[in-house]
Symmetry: C2
Subunit: 191 residues, 2 copies
DNA sequence: CAGAAAAAATAAACTAGATTAAGAAAAACA
DNA sequence: TGTTTTTCTTAATCTAGTTTATTTTTTCTG
C-alpha cells in the first residue's frame, strides 16, 4: 500500500472529500509509521513532547502508576483509534504500551496542529476525549465495579474479548481477584 | 463599571495586550451578565445548547444525579473561573447550580468560538479542563477519600472554607457521614 | 510437545466506605 | 431573640472491594 495510506484514508473519511496532493504530501512528511512488539513501552512517565498515535493494527493502553506502584489503565486504543497524552508537549505522567504487536502512525503535537487547517478537527478530537473521560469519572463515582463491567461489555464487547482480564480490572479500578469474583458470580447466576 | 468590564479585562490579561474597540464590541454583543440566587439552578440535565459561564462573583457547581438519585459534584467555579458542560451544544447530563448568590457572564458555545480568533484560546481551555479531569480520575481510582481530601485542601484551601462539607464529600465521591468520620479522625490524631 | 511462565480462580481474613437512624450544633430567618 | 431549617456528628450494622496465599488453567517458548 501507498505510504501513509491508512492515515490519508482516515482524513478523507472525516473530511468527507479527497485530499489534495499538497495535503497528502504534508501527511507523508509529518506522520511516521512505527511498529511495536507486545509489551513494548512507547513512552513513559517523565517524558515530554510525547506524540499522538493512530493505530493501524494492534492494541495499545495508556496507564498511570500510583505512588504504591499499582497500575491503572486510563485508555485503550484499537484499530482506527487515536491515543496519546493530550497534555503534550508538557511532561506526561503516563505510560503508553503495546498490548499486542502493533503498527501505528505517530505525529507530534505541533505537526498535528499544523495539519488540521483551523484546529476544528483537533477541537473535535479533544472534546470527544473530554466527554469520554467525564462519562468515565461519573461511572467510577456512581456505579459499582459490577455495573461498570456490564457497561463496558455492552459498549465495547470486542475489547472484553481481546484484553486480558487483569487489564480490564485495572481499567475498572478494582483488583483482578475482585473482577474474577464478579465474573464467577455472574456465571453462577445464569445457571 | 463599564459593561462587560470583567470579561474584557480577563481577555486582555490572557492575550497580554489591550483589546481593540472592535473586539470589545464583539464581547459586549455576545456576553450576557446574569445573577443567580443561592441554590438557583442555571441549567439542568436534558437541556441542549447550554452556555459557558465566567464567574465574576460567587460560587457555582456542576453536578450529575445518578440513577438512584444521588448527586455527584463534578466541578466548582469561583471568581474568575469558567464553568460549563463542554459537550455543548449536545444535550447535557449535568446540572449547574449557584452555591452562593452569584454574578456571572454567560456566552453560547457558538459565540465563544467566534470570539477566540483561531480557536487557540478555546483549545487551551478545553485542554486544561481535560488534564484537570484526567488528574481527578487518577486520584479517585488510586487514592483513598482521606488522601483526596488532603490533596484538595492543599490545592484549594479556599474551596474547603467556602463549601459546605456535604458538597466536598460529594466531590470526593463519599457520603457526608464518611467525610465527617475522616475529619474527626484527623482532629483526634493531631492531639 | 514438554516445561516454564503468565493469567485466572478460589477462599479466608480484613478494611474502606455505605446505610440507617438518632441527636447536637450551627446557620438562617422572621 | 427564639424558632425553624440546614448542616454536622456519632455510632452500630452492613457491603463492596482488598490483601494474601494457594491452586488451577491457559499461553508461550525452546
Amino acid at each position: 500500500m501507498e505510504k501513509c495510506g491508512t492515515i490519508i484514508s482516515y482524513y478523507e473519511h472525516i473530511y468527507n472529500r479527497p485530499l489534495a496532493d499538497r495535503e497528502k504530501e504534508i501527511i507523508r512528511n509529518t506522520f511516521q509509521k512505527e511498529t511495536f512488539k507486545k509489551k513494548e513501552i512507547i513512552f513513559s512517565s517523565g517524558e515530554s513532547n510525547t506524540k499522538h498515535y493512530f493505530v493501524e493494527k494492534g492494541l495499545l493502553r495508556m496507564y498511570v502508576i500510583d505512588t504504591s506502584g499499582k497500575e491503572f489503565n486510563i485508555l485503550f486504543a484499537r484499530e482506527n483509534q487515536w491515543i496519546g497524552d493530550l497534555s503534550t508537549p508538557a511532561i506526561t505522567s503516563f505510560y503508553l504500551e503495546a498490548i499486542e504487536k502493533s503498527t501505528v502512525y505517530s505525529v507530534s503535537d505541533e505537526n498535528l496542529n499544523v495539519l488540521t487547517d483551523n484546529f476544528s478537527t483537533f477541537v473535535r478530537y479533544i472534546k470527544k476525549s473530554y466527554i469520554f473521560l467525564q462519562n468515565r469519572l461519573v461511572s467510577i463515582l456512581s456505579k459499582t465495579a459490577d455495573e461498570n463491567y456490564e457497561e463496558l461489555s455492552k459498549l465495547h464487547p470486542e475489547l472484553i474479548k481481546r484484553l486480558p482480564q487483569y487489564h480490564i480490572s485495572s481499567y475498572l479500578g478494582v483488583t483482578p481477584e475482585f473482577l474474577s469474583k464478579i465474573l464467577s458470580n455472574k456465571a453462577r447466576k445464569k445457571d
